[in-house]
């Protein structure tokens, strides 16, 4: 990682993170890791539809979502969040997925996913993704038909030991 600018502990306690994941075991893992990081508020949802509801009522700072879910998947949820008015949807959305095919990663990017984390998930990949989400400004592109991080960027898949 890069140079220090502040204590992660101070900011983590002020964070509201929404975890959207249909697998109970995966959700428990991600929540346990976030608790270990001392994230102040962890919200949970079992699918994209419920995740969207929690997003609108709870205003999380960061969303961590699975891709494939029923009845609404993480891609559709991300697209709808990016379309939210008055900048409410301008937040980091991290997708954790086992689908590493380039077409699927590009699809996630086009819906507005900020960071793409490969399954199996490792502690360092999640931790570094949260640090990036917290400390990097978001650069949003807005056109009449699109709002979100640039769909022209190369969304990398973050594996364990991926250079930061």
């Amino acid at each position: 990682m890069n140079a220090v600018a502040g204590s992660a502990g101070d900011i983590f306690q002020k964070l509201r993170v929404l975890v959207v994941e249909d697998s109970g075991e995966m959700r428990r893992l991600v929540v346990a890791l976030l608790q270990t990081m001392r994230i102040g508020c962890i919200l949970e949802a079992r699918d994209g539809k419920r995740g969207l509801e929690v997003f609108h009522t709870e205003n999380p700072d960061i969303i961590i979502t699975d891709g494939s879910m029923q009845p609404m998947d993480g891609y559709e949820m991300t697209r709808l969040i990016r379309q939210s008015g008055s900048g409410q949807g301008d937040i980091p959305i991290l997708m954790i997925s086992g689908h590493l095919n380039r077409n699927i990663v590009d699809h996630a990017r086009d819906q507005g996913v900020t960071d793409y984390l490969a399954k199996p998930l490792s502690a360092d990949v999640l931790y570094q993704a949260i640090l990036r989400a917290v400390s990097n400004p978001l650069h949003i592109v807005e056109t009449p038909s699109f709002r979100g991080p640039s769909p022209r960027r190369n969304l990398q898949v973050r594996h364990s030991d991926w250079p930061s």
């Binding site: 697998s23 893992l29 494939s68 409410q88 086992g98 650069h139 807005e142």
Partner: protein, 177 residues
């Protein structure tokens, strides 16, 4: 959310596109103030605690894997009896294993689960009324779980053989349709 909107119009003569570029300040800047802007350092103690949390969950996951593998065998029997929802249930379990087993120290089981998912994704329900390929995978998972500390060479050879078998099977069935 309050966004600082610094917008620039992307203008081309005779080809104007209405585009705005917006810089949303980082979460740190918004919550702690602009003096805190900039990248943050990874704290190795937090990472250690996270890895410890994974190790704590590993034991429970190992127990859960034993139950899941037993369930997969039962689901194969149901699939062979023509129960289509059992195929979906089997896929869901394999999909979860694909995502989780590697995190909890069972990378080979994750890879067998990935191969199993690939097989199901590439076939239709009537193709797998014969559960032979499903059973090969589940038996390989059971062996990998039982012999976790052994040399991986045999398991990898099995995995590659299954991957080749699936490729051939899917191709043949697509041609037959």
């Amino acid at each position: 959310m309050s966004s600082s909107h610094s917008s620039e119009e992307d203008e081309k003569p005779g080809h104007e596109i209405d585009v705005r570029f917006i810089r949303v300040p980082s979460i740190v800047e918004r919550k702690l103030g602009p003096d805190h802007a900039g990248p943050m350092r990874l704290d190795p103690r937090i990472l250690d605690h996270m890895q410890e949390a994974i190790r704590d969950l590993e034991g429970k996951y190992g127990e859960s894997l034993i139950r899941q593998i037993d369930l997969l065998f039962r689901l194969v029997e149901e699939i062979e009896a023509g129960n289509v929802p059992a195929r979906d249930r089997l896929y869901d379990i394999a999909h979860d294993m694909r995502g989780l087993a590697g995190t909890f120290g069972h990378p080979l089981i994750g890879r067998f689960a990935n191969s199993l998912c690939t097989y199901i994704e590439g076939t239709v329900a009537r193709d797998i009324l014969d559960g032979t390929i499903l059973r090969f995978h589940i038996e390989a998972m059971r062996d990998a779980l039982a012999n976790r500390d052994d040399n991986d060479a045999v398991a990898l050879e099995t995995l590659h053989a299954l991957e080749r078998l699936i490729k051939t099977t899917i191709r043949e069935r697509r041609l037959a349709r």
